[in-house]
Amino acid sequence: MAESAMELVKLRKKIGSKEIIKGLDFEIHKGEVFGFLGPNGAGKTTTIRMMVGLMGITDGDVRILGKSVKSDFKGAIREVGAIVENPEMYPFMTGMQNLKHFARMSPGVTKERIKQVISLVGLENAIKTKVGRYSLGMRQRLGIAQALLHSPSVLILDEPTNGLDPAGIREIRKYIRRLADEDNVAVIISSHLLSEIELMCDRIGVIKNGELIGIQSVHEQQAEEDPERQIRLEVDPVDSALRVLKTHHGIDAGEDGGFITFSAKKSLMPSIVTSLVSGDILVYRVEVSSASLEDKFFDLIGENVIG
């Protein structure tokens, strides 16, 4: 089992009498990219704000490399680099002035390190330009540079793909993968769009109404060679088809507006069709869905993730 970089322990947040975060309990490992997915208003940003000490913790704790954000804030936050919501920098200062400003706020950031992060995000040419003139993509990159200055063990990016074009998203994905794979950084990425983070994450945790409703490993899903898929059949007569499925294959299929739906492995389909045909059932159509994570999340959330 990989070493834990960040741990959420029964984390709760109450504002007034309303409980916004209802006991989050999970951990993020070193060298892992963890997606934090949920519809807008699910509590992603509140959770992230508690992780970095911008918001007080009502109950429970966040531990970063074993250090509690509550009792050892300085020790814990030293290991964290973050962009919370937008990559906001001082617009009247150049990229370099901004980086130097934040470098002075963490111990032991050298000039070489500043140069290193600039070249990592490829901002060499724009670093002497005022941030007010930066595009959103450039600001996002400067934000990442700023978050990496003090070589943190945990990098938190809140909606890093917000407002970026596909090329920008691809670029960010590239940095993030490199950080996790080469520098063993734990990266936490929040998003309300599964499609945008699916490709860069190792695991995805889904949050809804302040509760974690599931954690899914992306690699497990891809590693499975022949996953269960949603099958839809248009057959006649329906009731004898249901009987055949039950007796020959042990499948409890459902009926849905003239269609039969069930889940099964793709490799089983030929034998299923053969037994239907030999049972004198007319098969008009066979639909096999391409199983994606998205379906799993629809199942988990019970509604569109995009919400």
């Binding site: 970095v52 918001m55 804030f73 300085k74 920098m89 009247f92 200062m93 706020m105």
Partner: protein
């Protein structure tokens, strides 16, 4: 704690990187030069005294006495002038002509402009971080919120001192160009609550500006408090400037109430104890006023600190 110098450096440089700060300095420079130009063109009574200045003063006094016998309305003014001249003669102090030093002393009134500029900076220094969204970046560093707030407060005070130095130096240079310099530290004769006295120019500059600094310091701290509590620079600047302007009227309005002596503005001008006007209420003393100021200062700082270090930083 080596870190705090870096933080103060950050805060001060953020003040001076912004164009608006330089516009304030240009405004102040224009004001100083304008005052000098107006003084130079209107002040005709700038008399130079020669080697035998004692005789010159004697004849001047005789002329003044004659003049006030003819014109009754000049009595008050001329008597004062005669007394001043007499003091010069009795104490052997040669009157110096109007010069850079006296221009600097008169410009102590411009310290209210410095108060204004400091209020603008103090009112924005916390609120602007919230407006820019950069407060989040400041607070997720291995530095306590208390130290961040402290570095900002110190930066405001440094700004006030630099601006004050700017006013003094530019006033002196402008004064020297327009009126010349009468000496390194000339002796001046002035009138205060105890009558006529002689003072040195530098001493007069220090006391003149020093007392004005009290008001500046309190109003800047007030603006800083509003800025950190309400995170709104316009509100902070507006309230502080309004109170600075209206403060004396407020005090006058309630002057017959016993509690009026506890109003901040009844105590911010410590020069009242050294002038004929006197404090709002007779029972007040310099020590009392300093005590009231200290209590207000502690309240302002405590309120800023309590709110800034405790409140959640949520979205806009």
């Amino acid at each position: 704690m080596a870190n705090i110098f870096g933080l103060i450096w950050n805060e001060v440089s953020k003040i001076y990187i912004q164009k608006s700060t330089w516009i304030m300095y240009i405004f102040l420079a224009v004001l100083i030069i304008a005052v000098a130009a107006i003084t130079a063109t209107t002040d005709g009574a700038n008399k130079e005294y020669g080697e035998d200045w004692q005789e010159e003063l004697q004849t001047e006094n005789e002329a003044l006495t004659e003049e006030m016998q003819e014109e009754e309305f000049l009595v008050d003014m001329n008597t004062q002038k005669i007394e001043m001249n007499q003091y010069h003669m009795d104490n052997g102090i040669k009157p110096v002509s109007y010069d850079a030093w006296q221009f600097v002393i008169e410009n102590a009134m411009l310290s209210s402009v410095i108060s204004l500029l400091t209020i603008i900076v103090a009112g924005g220094i916390v609120a602007n971080e919230f407006r820019w969204g950069t407060i989040k970046q400041l607070l997720i560093r291995p530095i306590s919120r208390t130290v961040i707030l402290l570095s900002k407060y110190i930066a405001v005070l440094i700004f006030a001192l630099i601006t004050l130095a700017f006013l003094l130096i530019l006033s002196w240079i402008t004064g020297a160009l327009f009126f010349g310099v009468a000496g390194g530290n000339p002796e001046l004769v002035i009138r205060n609550s105890e009558g006529i006295a002689s003072v040195t120019a530098i001493g007069e500059v220090i006391s003149g500006y020093g007392f004005k600094l009290v008001n500046l310091f309190m109003m800047a701290t007030f603006a800083f408090m509003i800025s950190s509590i309400f995170r709104n620079s316009a509100l902070a600047i507006g309230m502080a400037v309004f109170l600075m302007m209206a403060g004396t009227s407020i005090v006058q309005f309630f002057a017959d109430k016993v509690w009026s002596k506890f109003i901040l503005f009844a105590n911010t001008d410590l020069t009242i104890y050294d002038s004929q006007i006197g404090p709002v209420r007779e029972e007040m003393t310099m020590g009392f006023s300093i005590g009231v100021l200290v209590v207000y200062w502690i309240i302002f700082i405590l309120a800023s600190w309590l709110v800034f270090t405790r409140r959640d930083v949520a979205g806009q």
